[in-house]
């Protein structure tokens, strides 16, 4: 049997814990670390044990810096050192039962019990803003990211990107050695070179030294820079983020005279108005905002009320999809709307313009909710809009209640200004030493700066990055950067709360953290850990009791009360005249919902995540509204029985610059607007990201870095995009029950008409697992999908296979809309329904899928022969089939990449070719909980088993538990008056149920929607 199924849990998932790493610490030093039993260094414990062995292997097998790509080396390592986790070395043989080896430690690491996962608190950052996470580690292999409940930006949840960062850690395409002009050199070479040059800079006070980096919030990095500044007073720092927040800070300057950072308290808001702000999905704190937003929207017996959301936006965003009332405007029209809204609220002037009814309704609603309302402007809108919004919030007396202003968490300097100056200096040859830390400016800097060319002008350039990418190609030196999960550090969340980042594993690819690099430039020989620790000691953390507080902080993941305090602000009214809306077609830039600004281009998980509203994978497209499409003669029939992914290719021209890409129709998108997402068209992203999509940065100039006048013309070509959903109407099948809040409680759902079976019912005493999903709360953000992929070793299959409708996601988010021009969207997460009368089980010829005593619909992979009959007979089509050996690294069918094996969850079988698979309610977690409970001689507690999707969900729309437990949350949800199951008439008796999609429309706007 194994022969057919080479990938078996033995040699795949119970893989080794050991990674090759260079010797970086002396045994004696590590011993000391052990002595003071610092929990912070738990991670290095078993590395200590094996350091010598690893070194032995490395030395005898490979010279250090000669392996361009260490996949092969990892594999050998893997085989030799397997067993440090008491697993079998994967000597997959063709013999019936080969003798396998078992390799114990030489010296057992303390406090590590093989087979028992450990969780460590750290933080992961995006755009400089931290999200606190707990990382699951099996024998030293980090395998899964969970949100940290203690952390304000997470509260236990994460978004899809955070989930995928664990894959980024293992990505075999990450750069793996230090190079000069593309050739491998030893770190020593680099060190002497750079130090010599720095010495020469002393004379000029470092006038020629420039640093360029994206937003960062690390106090330690700031401290090190301060120290550099002392030594080189004229040293200059520059910032660039493709997804920058210039307008936020500029708006604050206009309103308060200084750059400030807004923090919203949505849990206090009855009415929320968003002006092009996607606060539920993008930007700092979006996960937290989703939670607060949802808590005021959760319609239950005890609280049958919900907040109201108005969205005025220039694209189709996740937040827009949640709106009770939505107005789609061209980007440049939003400013006028904001101004009108301001005057409507200030002078009660009823809006006279096109959207008068809408506007005055919004204004009234806001006024009626003074202090309990909030208006949010998006970072893509100009400073004027932010200034206007700041004024509106002030007029509504929202400051202090729903809106707070704090000191900026990241440097508020204008990114556009900053990179403009740097480019100028480069062109004037003023830059002698250029350090580019992280980011990828050559790829995403404003195209008209021609930054790539400018970099070549630098006398000496160093790039620190995870990948040897477009930017590295233009620099003298490339230094592999350590992943956040590989290095010490610290960072702040959207509200200023600080976290210490601790490494979960020694750098896989000899990476160096920014801190380490800066320390080196300073000639500071200490370990990163010591430096970070020092930062906080100096910051006076815990005062005299520092050591205790420090360890506590590490284990908790949050620096106690480090959040910034709200500033008192007084708003100066916005007087400047508002700019006119342009009349032409406009292009709207947007960070991509999955690969963001391109930093995740090489992440197969994210590439294969269906983009909200598009359900497209592996590509970015030009989104237009149905009317615009009609005007341009684009023929895509979204109402077809099966909508194929064949998209017309168009050429988008902005300021004379052109880019070609597929066009797709998105109902609800504003007319005469084209939305393009950043992050695609990469050339040096890696095997996965290269060549996917088109590069929007090629038409993104300094002027209109968020939106600009443009023109669109069809080229006549067609391009195939990989959709995961091909039909968007529910066909009146009641898949989502849509209701208005007013209807709550009426026409109680009767459980009478259920006894429809000739057969007697099966009894489920003991645990009775069930799930309820609240469609009112689902924003369609895909966090659950990503979490499921990470937890269950789900394979990615590549664009080609997605086109052939073979994606493997166990939980998917179906999206339906009711109308092309003024659509209302609904999102339905669909995992396995775990039917009590499961149609799939009856038809399986080998009883590979059966029911257990707790009502779980079990799928036994190693029994499956692959008839696919179960999938045919599944009304919900939640089963997934391994048509090929999908465990091979995505996109490349010919080679296996062992390092990715280390990522796998050892408690979930890795499915081989020809096997059916599906959602299991995370049975491995249930099983673990059951064993724990049994040993403690008690029943499983409510909330003890949390499925991966449930844990990740930012809005906590998913509830899972024991239906037989009267006090369980799930039982309460099941008794909600409007609880329903999909296609009840089939009498499959699903265990997964749904709550209807409630809306809270403004009576004044009923007909207008």
């Amino acid at each position: 049997m194994e022969k057919g199924n080479k990938v078996n849990p033995a040699d795949e998932t119970r893989g080794p814990s050991k990674m090759p790493e260079p010797r970086r610490v002396t045994i004696s030093e590590l011993r000391d670390r052990l002595k003071n039993g610092d929990p912070g260094v738990w991670r290095s414990l078993e590395e200590i044990a094996d350091d010598e062995e690893v070194k032995a292997f490395l030395d005898q097998e490979f010279p250090r810096h000669t392996a361009p790509w260490m996949g092969e080396m990892d594999r050998r390592q893997f085989l030799r050192l397997a067993g440090a986790s008491l697993a079998l070395a994967g000597l997959a043989g063709c013999r019936i039962r080969p003798i396998k080896e078992i390799v114990p430690y030489v010296k057992a690491p303390e406090n590590l019990v093989p087979g028992i996962p450990k969780f460590y608190a750290t933080a992961l950052t995006l755009g400089g803003y931290a999200t606190g996470v707990l990382v699951e580690s099996h024998e030293g292999r980090p395998t899964k990211v969970e949100g940290n409940p203690e952390h304000p930006a997470s509260l236990g949840s994460t978004n899809a990107l955070t989930q995928a960062m664990i894959l980024e850690l293992y990505d075999p395409d990450r750069s793996q050695a230090l190079t000069r002009d593309g050739r491998y050199v030893t770190p020593a070479t680099f060190e002497s070179d750079v130090k010599a040059r720095l010495r020469r800079q002393i004379a000029t006070g470092g006038d020629g030294i420039r640093f360029l980096s994206p937003s960062g919030s690390s106090p330690t990095v700031e401290r090190l820079f301060a120290r550099l500044q002392e030594r080189y007073p004229k040293l200059r720092r520059h910032y660039w983020d493709a997804v920058h927040r210039d307008s936020v800070y500029e708006g604050a300057r206009l309103s308060f005279g200084r750059p400030l950072e807004p923090v919203y308290r949505l849990d206090r808001a009855n009415v929320i108005v968003s002006l092009d702000g996607d606060f539920l999905f993008e930007g700092p704190g979006s996960v937290r905002y989703s939670r607060d937003f949802a808590d005021r929207r959760r319609v239950r017996k005890n609280s049958p009320a919900m907040n109201r959301l108005y969205v005025v936006e220039s694209t189709m965003s996740v937040t827009g999809g949640m709106a009770d009332h939505r107005l789609a405007l061209r980007p440049s029209e939003v400013e006028a709307f904001a101004a009108a809204l301001r005057s409507a609220i200030r002078d009660g002037a009823s809006g006279s313009d096109a959207h008068g009814a809408f506007l005055s309704a919004v204004a009234q609603d806001l006024i009626a909710n003074r202090g309990a309302s909030v208006v949010i402007a998006g970072e893509s809108q100009p400073a004027a809009v932010h200034a206007l919004v700041n004024e509106i919030n002030a007029l509504l007396g929202n400051y202090g209640s729903t809106v707070q202003w704090i000191e900026p968490v990241v440097n508020p300097e204008s990114r556009l200004e900053s990179i403009r100056e740097l480019t100028a200096d480069l062109q004037d040859g003023k830059v002698e030493m250029l350090f580019i830390l992280e980011g990828n400016p050559v790829y995403d800097a404003p195209v008209d700066l021609q930054f790539g060319e400018a970099v070549r002008r630098a006398g000496f350039s160093v790039r620190l990055g995870l990948y040897e990418d477009e930017t590295s190609a233009r620099c003298r030196y490339h230094i592999p950067m350590a992943h956040e999960l590989e290095s010490w550090g610290d960072s702040r969340a959207f509200d200023g709360t600080a976290s210490i980042q601790q490494p979960l594993i020694e750098p896989l690819y000899n990476g160096v953290s920014p801190i380490k690099l800066l320390a080196m430039l300073l000639g500071d020989e200490r370990s990163e850990r010591e430096i970070v620790k020092e930062t906080w000691q100096l910051a006076g953390l815990g005062g005299s009791a520092f050591d205790d507080v420090w360890s506590a902080t590490l284990s908790k993941g949050v620096v106690p009360n480090s959040a910034f305090v709200a500033e008192d602000v007084s708003v100066s009214p916005f007087t400047a005249a508002t700019s006119r809306a342009s009349s032409s077609l406009e292009v709207r830039f947007k960070p991509d919902p999955t690969v963001f600004d391109g930093r995740f281009s090489n992440s197969p998980w994210l590439q294969e995540l269906p983009k909200p509203f598009l359900q497209a994978t592996w590509d970015n497209v030009m989104m237009v509204s149905p009317r615009t499409a009609e005007r341009l003669g684009i023929e895509i029939d979204l109402s077809a029985v099966v909508v194929g992914g064949l998209a017309p290719v168009a050429e988008l021209t902005v300021g004379g610059r052109k880019v070609k890409g597929p066009v797709w129709i998105v109902p609800g998108h504003p007319d005469d607007t084209v939305t393009v997402t950043l992050g695609y068209g990469r050339e040096l992203a890696g095997r996965v990201g290269n060549g996917a999509g088109f590069n929007a940065c090629q038409i993104r100039a300094q002027e209109g870095s968020w939106f600009a006048p443009a023109s669109l013309a069809l080229t006549g070509e067609k391009a195939q995009i990989a959709l995961t959903q091909h039909h968007y109407s529910m066909e009146n099948r009641g898949i989502v029950h849509e209701m208005e809040i007013g209807e709550y409680g009426h026409e109680e759902h009767d459980a009478a008409h259920e006894e429809m079976s000739l057969y007697p019912d099966r009894e489920y005493d003991g645990n009775k697992w069930a799930m309820v999903i609240d469609t009112t709360l689902c924003t369609g953000c895909n966090a659950c999908v990503a979490a499921c992929v990470a937890e269950n070793n789900i394979a990615t299959v590549g664009k080609d296979q997605v086109i052939r409708s073979r994606e493997m996601h166990w939980i998917r988010i179906d999206r339906y809309f009711d109308d092309l021009d003024n659509p209302r969207y609904v999102h339905v997460p669909v995992p396995c329904m775990q039917c009590e009368n499961a149609p799939c089980e009856v038809v399986c010829p080998v009883a590979a899928t059966t029911h257990d005593g707790e009502g779980l619909n079990m799928m036994v992979y190693n029994r499956c022969v692959g008839t696919r009959y179960c999938s045919n007979n599944c009304p919900y089509k939640v089963r997934r089939f391994n048509f090929y050996k999908y465990t091979l690294y995505p996109g490349t069918w010919d080679e296996e990449t062992p390092v990715t094996k280390l990522l796998r969850n050892p408690n979930v079988t890795v499915r081989g070719r020809g096997v059916m698979e599906k959602c299991t309610y995370c049975v491995q977690r249930i099983s673990a909980a059951r064993r724990r409970a049994k040993k403690e001689g008690r029943p499983i507690r409510d909330g003890e088993v949390v499925t991966a999707c449930q844990a990740a969900c930012p809005t906590q729309a998913i509830v899972f538990g024991n239906w037989n437990d009267p006090n369980a949350r799930v039982t309460a949800e099941k008794t909600e008056p409007h609880h329903y199951v999909l296609m009840e008439e089939l009498n499959t008796r699903p265990r997964t149920g749904y709550l209807p999609r409630f809306r809270n429309p403004n009576p004044a706007l009923k007909e207008a929607r």
Binding site: S757, Y759, D761, C844, G853, R989
Partner: protein
């Protein structure tokens, strides 16, 4: 059915008489019986109705065998399914009861038919004493026409009434086309 020793030293085994139509054969066979010959056999290219009755060799055991095995097969099939899904490893499959007998009907039926069919083949062969590639009568001259266009009556030397001279004469008397010695 006739019994022949498999020891081989050439000796007279009997006489074969050839006829061109089944009717003549039947006539001859009738006569032979009347005269009192008992160890007779008739070899024909296709089934001739009424011949066995004349020779007194009618045997109706085949249908009984088939019926028995058919029933046994069906019962066995149902028993297997019941044992497996009720006693050996009962499983909750799609909420069906362990003994979901309606689902067991098709296989029960197939098992019955299979057993019956095989028993028909094997039963028929065994009763006919086949396979029997070697047989003395195959040594008779022209016997190959018995599977072509001749209808052959065979009187064995084992027959108590058998007498080389008389028997040949008798057969000639029945209007046979030819009478041959069977020496094997």
């Amino acid at each position: 059915m006739a019994h022949y020793p498999t020891v081989i030293e050439p000796k007279l085994r009997g006489f074969t008489a050839h006829y061109s139509t089944p009717e003549e054969l039947i006539e001859a066979a009738k006569k032979a019986r009347e005269v009192g010959y008992s160890r007779l056999d008739a070899l024909t290219p296709y089934a001739v109705e009424g011949l066995v009755e004349v020779l007194g060799q009618r045997d109706d055991r085949v249908p009984k065998i088939v019926l028995t095995f058919g029933v046994l097969g069906a019962l066995g099939g149902f028993a297997l399914q019941t044992y497996v899904s009720v006693f050996d490893y009962p499983m909750n499959i799609g909420g069906r009861p362990n003994l979901s007998w309606p689902s067991f009907i098709p296989i029960t039926f197939e098992c019955g038919v299979l057993a019956a069919a095989l028993s028909a083949l094997i039963g028929m062969l065994m009763l006919n004493g086949l396979p029997r590639p070697h047989h003395p009568v195959f040594d008779a001259p022209e016997i190959e026409r018995a599977t072509d266009d001749r209808f052959v009556l065979f009187i064995e030397s084992e027959d108590p009434q058998f007498n080389a001279g008389e028997t040949r004469e008798f057969l000639k008397g029945t209007g046979a086309l030819s009478v041959q010695e069977v020496i094997s």
